[in-house]
Symmetry: C2
Subunit: 422 residues, 2 copies
């Protein structure tokens, strides 16, 4: 089959899932009708589990996703309402009036619980609030995104080694070293800062945020990507010396495979983060009006590394992690890596025109459509093993919500349509 | 003679000059009685030349010096009035209401002239306003110093390579490359940021500014000081690649010796900046409560480099510049290097207890007392050649004012007294 014919079939499935399953699910799940904001713990049937912790990451991601869905005319206005009440709750309860910035977690009624300032969460606040501003025209969106930007600069920027401190106390003091994270920097957070600053630039058209975004890109290229393989290293000392990745006390994902005290091997990279970084970078390049040429070689290397070692060509899907130069080591299949690989592989095809990226897309697409999506409910399962056995089955959690899934389907639909229009 | 006996004689001369010449001069010169602020162009007799350009550097330095003099009980209250009216003028005219930050120059009546944002000037605003806050208790001092700090962070920090951009347009966009300075960083500015952030910390007791100051110190140690000789390199690309120092369009000094297009030799360092950096660093270490040990070796190397190559052991005084590893090349004797070396050599003696620093002090002290000071008027001449022939004779200019001279005498008096009290 020709690429276009293949993509036509993919598009049909993507659209069916997005419009008939995901969107209906999220128009009816997640909003906290009692206090406002979002309740994100949902069991395998999408039923609230009764857990009520509200995390900054999930509140912000729900705002982002609802706003972004509204921007592409999904939900007929309902997503804007969902986003607006989320912003109301966020501003009312998550903002630290004493030290400024956003708390890490709150209780259901908004009482602050973990008042730490994590750059990851601040970054998602910028991303979500600027998206909300663009979706709604509500001036609070950009206003509070700008406030958050200012705080990142005045309280969290490292003016010696570049980049940003990541794990900070309520008063923005660096946390203790080690598992508290005060002495580390990461790919994850700097990638999401690129994403957030790009959105802030799109929302404001201010040169300043274009420049700030370019700085983060340069930082990632100089300090974070492997000098030879160009795949991402996960964690660093504050001076950007690469370190073995450890688990932190405050987390926003379900890392499972670190049982050694010293952390993961140094020769280790995340297929999901790598490919997510590439397509986000390409989006940034377009949004900022940059020339793509200086970045192509790196993106090609990253995509090919994922093709060579990340994709399960036999059973479908993409593995979690592995060395920069060999087969995957952590071979479970997690939802968010699948979501990002779908977008990434289509982006790679659009950039380089090589059908092998469509082949890789198909392997992930089939796995997602045939295994990962809980079609009867409308959302994705979080985790399978390498043989495609379901390991975890909830629909929502403290960090799993619709950010990866809806974004992946919206972005895949757009890219498949572009391929078909070529 | 014993060190103490020598220092007793030095102190007498220093006190005589400070209390009988410098202070009386500056209690009666410099204030613009018509518009407020300061008129800093004074001829060899201390008479206003009629030039009325007001530079941010001189306005801020007059505020700093007057405030610092008041803090050590000089002037009987008059210096506080001199500072306060300067702050009034600065806030009324130099603040850019549109893009925020401080203009580079204004006309006598305060109409803005060069509206560029130069980090050097912003830095001196932080230094002066925090000093004024400590001298006066006027909350505007710290308030506007904090505003300026925020702007440095949000508009001028380089989040990729660390440090700060230096030459910015009115709207904080980087200036063009080359002589406009948009693609360079310098020792000069980062040293003065250390000085400014230290003062902001002293004025606020906020952990944040201690950390920011430590970042600048680490940056200077890692990127700016010569890896072997530890003397300072002057100019860098934004990524801290050392560059030959060129003259810029907007200046704040009387650099004279660059006639080649490519600038000064790369193997070149400023005795004045080096020694000024050392004693400022030591002041910072004390103010922040840091351990001096990790910095001693560097400071010793810098002081000894000045002793070996900077001091004119025959005719007195200190030369301007020369290579990191050999005799001085630019051998004129300028006022500010003398001023900084006086303080520095006493600091070196207090740190290391080696009488050779008192010998060096004496060489500069005698030159200052016997040649540089225009005793009949009360201020210092700006420039002599290496044979101690007077080259320039004004008392005040766009960048020469009482900052170096009064500070030098106050700080020397304090250090000489400490030696005598030992």
């Amino acid at each position: 089959m020709q690429v276009k014919e293949r993509c036509k079939l993919f598009l049909k499935e993507v659209q069916n899932h997005l419009h008939k399953e995901l969107i209906p699910f999220w128009l009816t799940h997640g909003v906290d009708e009692k206090y406002g904001g979002y309740l994100t713990y949902l069991d395998r049937n999408g039923k609230p589990t009764g857990e009520t912790l509200k995390t900054l990451v999930c509140q912000a991601r729900m705002i982002f996703t609802s706003s972004s869905a509204h921007r592409v005319n999904l939900g007929g206005g309902a997503f804007l309402d969902i986003a607006t009440q989320g912003v109301d709750f966020l501003l009312r309860h998550f903002w630290d009036k004493k030290h400024e910035g956003w708390f890490w977690t709150c209780q259901q009624d908004g009482a602050p619980l973990n008042m730490s300032k994590l750059t990851y969460g601040q970054s998602f606040a910028v991303y979500a609030l600027s998206e909300y501003g663009m979706a709604s025209g509500d001036p609070r969106g950009v206003e509070w995104a700008l406030k958050t930007y200012d705080l990142l600069q005045t309280k969290a920027a490292d003016n010696c080694y570049g980049g940003y401190y990541e794990f900070l106390e309520q008063d923005w003091a660096k946390k203790r070293p080690g598992v508290y994270g005060g002495d580390r920097k990461s790919f994850d957070i700097h990638m999401h800062l690129m994403e957030a600053f790009t959105n802030l630039y799109e929302a404001t058209d201010e040169r300043l945020f274009k420049e700030r975004t370019c700085e983060v890109i340069e930082l990632i290229f100089k300090r974070i990507l492997h000098p030879e393989f160009r795949t991402g290293l996960a964690q660093f000392a504050l001076d950007w010396t690469p370190l073995q990745a450890i688990l932190f006390k405050d987390v926003w994902g379900s890392d499972r495979d670190v049982d050694a005290d010293e952390g993961r091997p140094l020769n280790n990279t995340s297929f999901g983060h790598n490919v997510e970084f590439c397509w986000l970078l390409n989006h940034t390049i377009t949004t900022l009006g940059l020339d793509v040429a200086p970045y192509e070689e790196t993106m090609r290397k990253i995509y090919d590394h994922c093709l060579d070692y990340g994709i399960d060509w036999e059973r479908g899907g993409v593995y979690c992690e592995g060395p920069h130069d060999g087969p995957a080591r952590e071979r479970n299949k997690e939802f968010w890596q699948q979501a990002e690989c779908l977008v990434g592989m289509l982006d790679a095809y659009l950039l380089f025109g090589d059908e092998k990226y469509i082949d890789a897309y198909e392997k992930v697409h089939r796995f997602v459509m045939d295994h990962m999506i809980h079609h009867a409910v409308g959302e994705w399962f979080p985790l399978f093993d390498e043989n495609n056995n379901l390991l975890w089955d909830y629909m929502g959690h403290a960090w799993k919500i619709n950010y990866h899934t809806i974004r992946s389907m919206i972005q895949s639909e757009a890219r498949l349509s572009r391929i078909l229009a070529q």
